[in-house]
């Protein structure tokens, strides 16, 4: 155990909550137990808030490229509108389509996400080790959400009024990309690190859709969750990377709150510190880089962002940390004076992240 927190009894030293979250996220079982004990103690006292950085023992190995042919392995389960996961297996890898179109859609879209990561970034499934991708459809009754729970995906059907479905290309790509973040060392799901986690999921959710449709950056819609809102909702998607803050404006849902610039960064305690809100800023930076570079966004901009995720090794990364690393990755891959490097830096500047 690293001496940073081995210096004292777990319940006698209180780390900042975000560091405890990092330990819970990246630690082994013993460390997680310790973190939970710390969290309980913090709840009781809420006094000391000393600054700390994650110990070296949290270092995560980068995902290695695979030299073998891909072998996607998907399992889709029917939750039958109950909460128990995973439910009943209804379609395994290589099996014929079933009568339920939602099952087949998830099966196909999951394959599309696998293909993007393998074909372009040489990543073998979510964990880089060829893991089975498990999905449950029809999760809970009228459930207005989809999520990655650390081991599998779950998709609600929506209530039919606000949401028609959660089985859509960019949403599936988004949720599966949360798994990629987890297996790449993780980003604590709070404040700027959490917004980067959300943004990475949006970026690769959108890229998954673009790759499947073979769309250039200019042709893509840059929407996350296009078409999943109910027919009476005034909106086109959950989020817009091209124009954050414009995806919906509805009497029931309210107005899309995403900012596109640091001047409008929202300091809030809700939504884990605004992870779904402030992600608009790095989302827009990625969109700008993609537009500047042209062509297929997964080739250069996507590669820079993916490389960054693999090497940043900082679960508490800020927007500046991430931006710095993207420029470094662009420089390493394309050269110090390359357009890729120059334009990556410029995109960050335009969203108010000065390097």
């Amino acid at each position: 155990m690293n001496s940073h927190y081995g210096c004292c009894h777990p319940i006698q030293c209180i780390l900042p909550p975000h560091v405890v979250e990092a330990i819970k996220l990246r630690g082994d079982e013993e460390q997680r137990k310790m973190a939970e004990a710390l969290a309980k103690q913090a709840e009781a006292t809420r006094e000391s808030r000393q600054e700390a950085t994650p110990p070296d023992s949290f270092l995560a190995a980068p995902v290695l490229a695979m030299g073998v042919a891909p072998a996607v392995n998907r399992e889709v389960y029917d939750g039958k509108r109950r909460a128990t996961l995973p439910g009943t297996l209804v379609r395994a890898e290589g099996e014929d389509p079933v009568d339920d179109p939602v099952v087949n859609q998830v099966y196909d879209l999951t394959g599309d996400v696998f293909n993007l990561y393998f074909d372009i970034y040489r990543r073998n499934s979510l964990d880089g080790q060829g893991s089975t991708i498990v999905s449950t459809v029809h999760h809970r009754r009228r459930y207005n959400n989809a999520f990655w729970n650390g081991t599998q995906m779950a998709y609600g059907d929506g209530d039919g009024t606000l949401f028609q479905t959660f089985v859509e290309a960019s949403v599936v790509g988004h949720e599966l990309s949360h798994a990629v973040v987890q297996y790449s060392g993780g980003l604590v799901y709070r404040d700027q690190a959490g917004a980067l986690n959300e943004s990475f999921a949006d970026v690769f959710g959108s890229l998954s859709k673009q790759y499947t449709l073979r769309q250039t950056a200019a042709e893509a819609d840059w929407l996350v969750g296009q078409g999943i809102l109910g027919s009476d909702i005034n909106g086109v998607a959950l989020r817009s990377m091209k124009a954050p803050g414009t995806a919906y404006d509805d009497s029931t849902l309210g107005k899309d709150p995403q900012p596109y610039h640091m001047d409008f960064y929202l300091n809030t305690s809700s939504d884990n510190g605004g992870v779904h809100i402030n992600s608009g800023i790095p989302n827009h930076a990625f969109y700008l880089v993609s537009q500047y570079l042209g062509g297929y966004a997964w080739e250069k901009a996507g590669q820079i962002w993916y490389d960054t995720m693999q090497v940043i090794n900082n679960p508490l990364a800020t927007f500046n940390d991430w931006a710095d690393k993207t420029v470094e990755m662009a420089r390493e891959r394309f050269g110090a004076g390359s357009m890729e490097t120059v334009l990556t830096r410029r995109a960050w500047k335009l969203v108010g992240v000065d390097l």
Partner: protein, 105 residues
């Protein structure tokens, strides 16, 4: 009894509204009364979230009693494995709130 409910859907969208228990359909009102007891809500609010679960839903419920001498009770809940019964009732309440807002029969 009035219920104020806010649900953060986990996809970046927040839903909120309020409704009187007496305005709920009878079956739902009975289920609400049976499920949303102080004991159940306290236990549900104590449920620990899975640290690896992202895009989880978050719930805030405020119960305003009819009796002005009684204080309102506020609960915050998150998606967890052991509070689903309560969360599903809250989902049903929100569905009813939305349905009424949208003027659906």
């Amino acid at each position: 009894m009035k219920l104020f409910l806010r649900i953060f859907t986990g996809q970046g969208i927040t839903l909120q509204g309020e409704i009187n228990l007496s305005n709920l359909p009878n079956d739902m009102a009975r289920q609400v009364q049976a499920t949303l007891t102080q004991e159940n809500l306290t236990a549900a609010a104590a449920a620990q979230p899975n640290p690896h679960m992202v895009d989880a839903s978050e719930y805030e419920l405020v119960i305003h009693p009819d009796d002005p001498n009684q204080t309102s009770q506020r609960y915050e809940l998150v998606d967890a494995d052991d509070n689903i019964d309560v969360l599903e009732v809250l989902d049903d309440i929100m569905h009813e709130i939305v349905r009424r807002k949208k003027g659906q029969s």
